[in-house]
């Protein structure tokens, strides 16, 4: 009995040490891709449509997010019956924010455009990183809120850094941390992922709950209710509408 216990302790020690020392970026990435359903599945995804709720404090807003490969995105959210839109068609970023009486589409600011472009890389920095010019560095093992994770630092061609923390056991994201500029000031955004569920025919695990912290303060919770893959989506959805004369009653919903 004693012998067995000691062996177990010794083995545990060895395996943990070897994990720390032998951890290789390529192996971790391979396991990550595998966990996400494999490269074939990842690359076969042409469109994705999700809907759910966005919660900011006591406010709750239904939202819809639509993606079309390779880089088109369209997000809407609704407050008091008015619908805000933010979109990017691969070239042009635009938004409609009707909450203060102005419902014409306007071009995004540089900061906003950068954020929307980030969203449009829905695979994330760990997939096809070389093609995207992203440098990856395996930082090592650490913990996020007490959960053991593997930290990978991704440096984009722009110099921006995203830190990705993968669950040590499942090799899927527990958290990502990135720095972004808002109104010229640097802001640190952390996104915590949970409620992974399998989606589509290939059973890809998709986090259905995301908690976003800005500079360490809880900013919003996103909760996905529906995730659909490879639906037909028309390109026109992503293009900035030409400002035309519209009937007042036609402008929302």
């Amino acid at each position: 009995m004693k012998f067995k216990l000691l062996t177990a302790v010794a083995l545990l020690g060895t395996s943990m040490m070897s994990l720390a020392e032998d951890l290789k970026l390529d192996d971790v990435l391979a396991e990550y891709i595998e966990a996400k359903g494999g490269m074939e599945v990842i690359q076969s995804m042409k469109t994705m449509k999700t809907s759910g709720k966005m919660m900011m404090g006591v406010m709750e807003a239904p939202f819809e997010f639509t993606y079309k490969a390779p880089d088109k995105v369209h997000t809407t959210f609704e407050v008091q019956g008015m619908k805000g839109i933010q979109a990017y068609d691969g070239e042009m970023g635009w938004q409609v924010m009707p909450f203060m009486g102005k419902d014409d589409p306007v071009a995004l600011s540089a900061d906003e455009l950068k954020q929307v472009k980030e969203q449009s890389d829905i695979e994330g920095p760990l997939v096809n990183h070389e093609a995207k010019g992203i440098k990856l560095e395996l930082v090592g093992l650490t913990e996020i809120e007490g959960t053991p994770v593997i930290e990978i630092k991704a440096t984009k061609p722009s110099g921006d850094v995203v830190e990705v923390f993968l669950d040590e056991e499942y090799k899927i994201e527990v958290m990502t941390r990135s720095k972004m500029k808002m109104m010229g000031q640097e802001v640190e955004a952390e996104t915590y992922f949970s409620d992974y569920k399998e989606v589509g025919e290939a059973s890809v695990p998709v986090a259905h709950s995301m908690l976003v912290k800005m500079n360490g303060v809880e900013a919003q919770n996103l909760s996905l209710e529906q995730v659909e893959i490879n639906l037909e989506v028309d390109d026109s959805l992503f293009e900035m509408p030409v400002v035309a004369v519209k009937e007042p009653a036609e402008k929302t919903e």
Binding site: E60, Q80, M82, M100, G146, D195, S209, P248, E253
Partner: protein, 1043 residues
């Protein structure tokens, strides 16, 4: 070898089942239980070091005495802490002149007052303070200066003052040539002489000047100066050093401060402590020195005021930070105060750090015992930084009002009181000064909230009439022919809870007053060693006498009473004795001698009596004043006859230990390096670090009714851990479960809130506790896969609302705003104040946690605001009207959405005949007319248009925003608007009745118009409620759900 032995022991002693089941307990187990900082920053705290970038808007780094490093990116308006996970005592900060992203921090403050902390070496950040590397020199304990060569970022000099309380070799000047990978000790004198200051020639970084200083502290004595002290120079990059003597005092020297004129680097200034302390100047790179001013501010407290600066553009303009900062404009010959010759500008005295913008010498940043000040005119006037909550509390207490207030004394910043919560956060103006000097213990009188007791250094005791603002001096004094009373710097005061109306106060004797300090009885013999060898304070200081009472020793330091036995008293002394009296002071037993394993004479930092067992007490010892940094914590269960050591050895020297009021196994330990919690009576300890830096915890109290742990940090103000009920429930058994629902205190439905204010960003605002209901549970492991959410249920188990669940390992806290979700408004062109739903009624609600396929249940209790002026009936009336308006808004929105949906269906019909198209157009126009009748449609930012939707929204917001009876006007308006909604609904129904049958006839039979039904609409619009709709009984009845 030792480790394997331990494994054997663990394996053989523990039952196998326990090994298999035991859950990991560590800092993360406390999970979502966070501390909150309430400040204050109004008086801030001691600043030890400063540096900044020489830009238009300087990036400022502030190193505090014991509150870490803070950074401002906006020129000194806002500051954020950037060093919370590391040693909080800062001695030096240096921004690399070659690369502003490189920031060096030397830990261990070098202003070696009696209460100075200890550092653990040098750190470097390569990204402006986001991430830090520890680069060694752990044992240097204190670092006074760091200089980086302006020719290479890899070459850095560290001026290590070294250990204060003992001999040590790790001191002097260290150099690295590989950015901290390796270090060379390039200047070393002896084991009691360290480096006090170091400057580098900006025109030739091979030329370095260093002040070497012999000094030592003992519990009762400080000495500055000796043959080790001297001013040294190297001209070969630190390889060799020569002592500079020409023109400097020949006898023993003390602390030396240095400054080099950057505009003329052959000129160097030095203040040299000596028999006649003075400023010296050299114009030949240190070869010869001329004695200059010996003004009072130049001579004052050299060990404490060792800072000196020269204007970067004017070699004749010298700043000498001291008790106040004085300036010379004639090269050090004379100094004039820059404060208009007096104290008319109210900035805190005791100045330790000064930064001058190299590119704009008008701009100064000054670090004092009371925070940071910024000047834009060379010190002509100053603005205090309001965002540095680095106050150094010694102790904390609380009163029993709601919300309760906290009381405490601070190093060099008097005594203060402030609320534990306030509308809109705890603002500077919420704090009130209640004492003076260096503050320590402060209490409110248990019978009279207008009376506050506080004290200041060396045993001066004060009683404040809060309303009038008048102080009375009330300390006990020695009678004729009696031995003088010896009071500690931090004299123990206890306003009794066991014997209301009694105050205890400690000199070498224990004193008691039953008349609010008007008179005193001495109720003990001398409870110290009375050792004359520990009473040298009258001659303390070395070259410069400095008897401030900081070295008073052989005194009582801690007093405790038992809440289980009114006559039981415990007393501990700063020279290692512990006494107990079971008869209210008639007789005393020395029981400290029964403790094994603590060096004789070790300072007793705290004795506390158990709230559970009368014979049980806890004690901490603090040996750091003799160089012993170990953690000493002991427990007795037999009135001190025998003691057991608790399993804490290397958590930092200990200040305070408390046993929880409810769970006897739950212990809280405050040390120099943070707060530690044990869930198993002291066998295992984990640091509490959720939003709590690694700061010294000098005192803590557990609030008996709010269940908060209130922390007096020495460097970061007061922190509160709200509601530790869940910690109390974390038994060993619960820890092994996957999911455990944990209790929370009743949630107060706070009324009122912050009123309009636009104060800007230069005030620290203390955080409030969550003003919502909190649902608490424990997860053994992070939730990753599948659904996890929380439902709040009514008495029929119908879902009132659902919440996003916390997923982290350990304790999770999820907030429920105690409200329905906001009503759904029809589309319009403006927002209305209806962002929150109606508040639910007080009472107990059932909580359902769904994790995958499993469900777990608990309850949450909502109680009215204890300050509420409204009756229960008033609150119910408000809820009733809120709900009527809520329903009316949703009804209106549904009706318009139903019509809009018909329009969408009509528009999707293809190939309609011209006559059909005409009917479709007619319906659309009718809908648009109706819509424009009930909702605002004008475009523009401020249209002033207010239709039914806007009027309803505004009224709803007003009614929901007040917790009591709505006004008669509001009732009348509501009646009118609700009637209008009925009209609107009729109009909508009429439209459908009149036109829909005709339209349907025209439509393709395969796709008739389908009317949207209410249940689908409710669900689609995320009301959080599927059918059946809200059971409104719980809104108006309240207090009836008891699961």
């Amino acid at each position: 070898m030792k480790i394997s032995t331990l494994c054997w022991l663990a394996g053989s002693l523990l039952p196998a089942s326990f090994v298999a089941q035991s859950a990991k307990v560590d800092s993360y187990t406390f999970g979502g239980l966070q501390a909150r900082a309430i400040g204050p920053a109004v008086m801030s705290g001691r600043i030890a070091a400063l540096d900044a970038t020489n830009s238009d808007t300087p990036v400022i780094y502030v190193g505090t005495a014991s509150g870490g490093v803070w950074k401002s990116k906006d020129g000194g308006i806002g500051f954020e802490p950037i060093f919370d996970d590391y040693n909080q005592s800062i001695g030096a900060i240096k921004v690399d002149p070659n690369n502003e992203s490189n920031v060096w921090v030397g830990t261990g403050e070098s202003w070696v007052r009696n209460t100075v902390s200890v550092g653990d070496g040098v750190y470097l950040s390569n990204d402006g303070g986001n991430k830090w590397q520890h680069l060694g020199l752990e044992k240097t304990e204190r670092i006074a200066a760091i200089e980086v060569s302006n020719q290479s970022s890899d070459t850095v000099f560290v001026c290590a003052t070294g250990a204060l309380w003992n001999d040590a070799k790790e001191r002097g000047v260290y150099k690295t040539s590989d950015a901290g990978k390796t270090w060379q000790q390039v200047l070393y004198i002896n084991q009691s002489t360290g480096c006090s200051d170091l400057v580098i020639d900006p025109n030739n970084p091979n030329i370095i000047y260093a002040g070497m200083w012999q000094f030592r502290r003992y519990p009762d004595y400080f000495t500055s100066g000796g043959e080790g002290s001297g001013l040294y120079r190297s001209i070969d990059g630190g390889d060799t050093w020569q002592e500079m003597i020409n023109g400097l005092p020949a006898d023993d020297k003390g602390r030396i401060a240095l400054a080099i004129a950057h505009s003329q680097s052959t000129t160097v200034y030095a203040t040299v402590e000596a028999e006649e302390t003075a400023l010296y100047r050299s114009d030949d790179m240190g070869r010869s020195w001329q004695r200059k001013s010996d003004a009072g501010m130049v001579q004052m407290r050299p060990f404490y005021f060792g800072e000196l600066k020269v204007d970067p553009t004017d070699p004749e303009r010298v700043y000498k930070p001291s008790f106040i900062t004085v300036t010379s404009t004639d090269g050090g010959e004379t100094f004039t105060s820059m404060f208009g010759g007096g104290f008319n500008i109210p900035i805190h005295p005791d100045h330790h750090a000064l930064w001058i913008n190299e590119n704009n010498p008008n701009q100064l940043v000054l670090g004092t015992d009371g925070g940071v000040y910024i000047s834009y005119n060379k010190g002509g006037n100053w603005r205090m930084v309001g965002t540095l909550p680095v106050s150094q509390f010694y102790h904390v207490s609380h009163d029993d009002q709601w919300p309760y207030h906290v009381y405490g004394g601070l190093q060099d910043n008097g005594s203060w009181e402030g609320p534990s919560r306030a509308a809109g956060g705890i603002k500077p103006g919420d704090w009130n000064s209640i004492g003076m000097g260096d503050g320590f213990w402060a209490f409110v009188d248990k019978q009279d909230h207008n009376t506050i007791y506080s004290e200041y250094q060396g045993g001066k005791l004060l009683r404040l009439n809060r309303e009038v603002g008048e102080l009375k001096n009330i300390p006990p004094v020695a009678g004729d022919g009696e031995e003088a009373l010896r009071f500690n710097w931090n004299t123990p005061l206890l306003v009794s809870e066991a014997n209301i109306g009694t105050i205890y106060y400690g000199s070498q004797y224990l004193h008691k007053s039953t008349d609010r300090g008007e008179s005193w009885q001495t109720i003990s013999p001398d409870l110290t060693t009375d050792d004359p060898k520990r009473q040298r304070q009258a001659s303390t200081g070395g070259l410069t006498i400095d008897n401030s009472t900081a070295e008073n020793n052989a005194t009582i330091y801690t007093i405790a009473e038992s809440m289980l036995d009114k006559k039981l008293l415990w007393v501990g002394s700063d020279d290692g004795l512990i006494h107990v009296s079971k008869d209210a002071g008639d007789s005393w037993q020395n029981v400290g001698k029964n403790i094994k394993g603590v060096p004789k004479g070790t300072w007793v930092s705290r004795v506390t009596a158990s709230p559970h067992e009368v014979g049980t007490a806890f004690v901490t010892f603090d040996g750091h004043r003799t160089g012993d940094m170990k953690t000493y914590t002991y427990r007795t269960d037999d009135f001190g006859k025998s003691w057991q050591k608790l399993a804490a050895d290397d958590l930092g020297y200990a200040w305070v230990i408390k046993q929880d009021r409810v769970n006897p196994d739950l212990l809280f330990l405050g040390t120099e390096f943070g707060l530690y919690i044990s869930l198993d009576a002291g066998a295992n300890w984990s640091r509490f670090k959720e939003n709590l830096p690694k700061v010294a915890i000098h005192d803590l109290v557990i609030h008996p009714t709010e269940h908060d742990v209130i922390l007096a940090t020495h460097g970061r103000g007061v922190y509160i851990i709200d509601d530790i009920s869940p910690l109390r429930a974390l038994t060993q058994e619960n820890l092994t479960e996957n999911v455990v629902m944990l209790p929370s205190r009743p949630a107060v439905m706070v009324e009122g809130g912050a009123l309009q204010s636009f104060a800007g960003g230069d005030d620290f605002i203390g955080a409030n506790p969550s003003e919502v209901a909190v649902i608490t549970y424990y997860l053994k492991k992070r939730h990753m896969f599948g659904d996890m959410k929380i439902n709040i249920l009514d008495e029929d188990d119908q879902v009132i609302t659902s919440l996003v669940a916390g997923k982290r390992r350990g304790i999770n806290r999820v907030e429920w705003p105690m409200r329905l979700k906001a009503p759904k408004f029809p589309p319009s062109t403006s927002l209305v104040p209806g962002f929150v739903g109606p508040r639910v009624a007080e009472g107990t609600y059932k909580v359902e946690l769904i994790k995958g396929k499993k469900k777990y249940y608990s309850t949450v209790e909502l109680v009215p605001d204890p300050r509420s002026q409204h009756t229960r009936e008033d609150r119910q009336a408000q809820q009733q009207l809120s709900m009527q308006l809520y329903d009316a808004i949703n009804d209106l929105t549904f009706s318009l959405s139903q019509l809009k949906d018909v329009v969408s269906q009509l528009e999707s019909q293809a190939d309609l005949s011209a006559s059909a198209q005409k009917k479709v157009e007619r319906f659309k126009l009718s809908y648009q007319d109706l819509n424009a009748q009930f909702t605002a449609t004008k475009k523009g930012m401020i249209t002033g248009e207010s239709k039914l939707r806007e009027q309803l929204g505004t009224l709803f917001g007003n009614v929901v925003g007040y917790s009591g009876q709505p006004s008669q006007t509001q009732y009348q308006t509501a009646a009118r608007l609700i009637a209008e909604v009925a009209t609107a609904l009729d109009a909508g129904q009429n439209l459908l009745d009149k036109q829909l049958p005709g339209l349907n006839k025209l439509m393709d039979k395969a796709s008739p118009i389908e009317l949207l039904d209410r249940a689908t609409w409710d669900e689609k619009n995320g009301m959080g409620l599927a059918t059946p709709p809200v059971n409104k009984a719980w809104l108006v009845n309240g207090a009836h759900v008891h699961h």
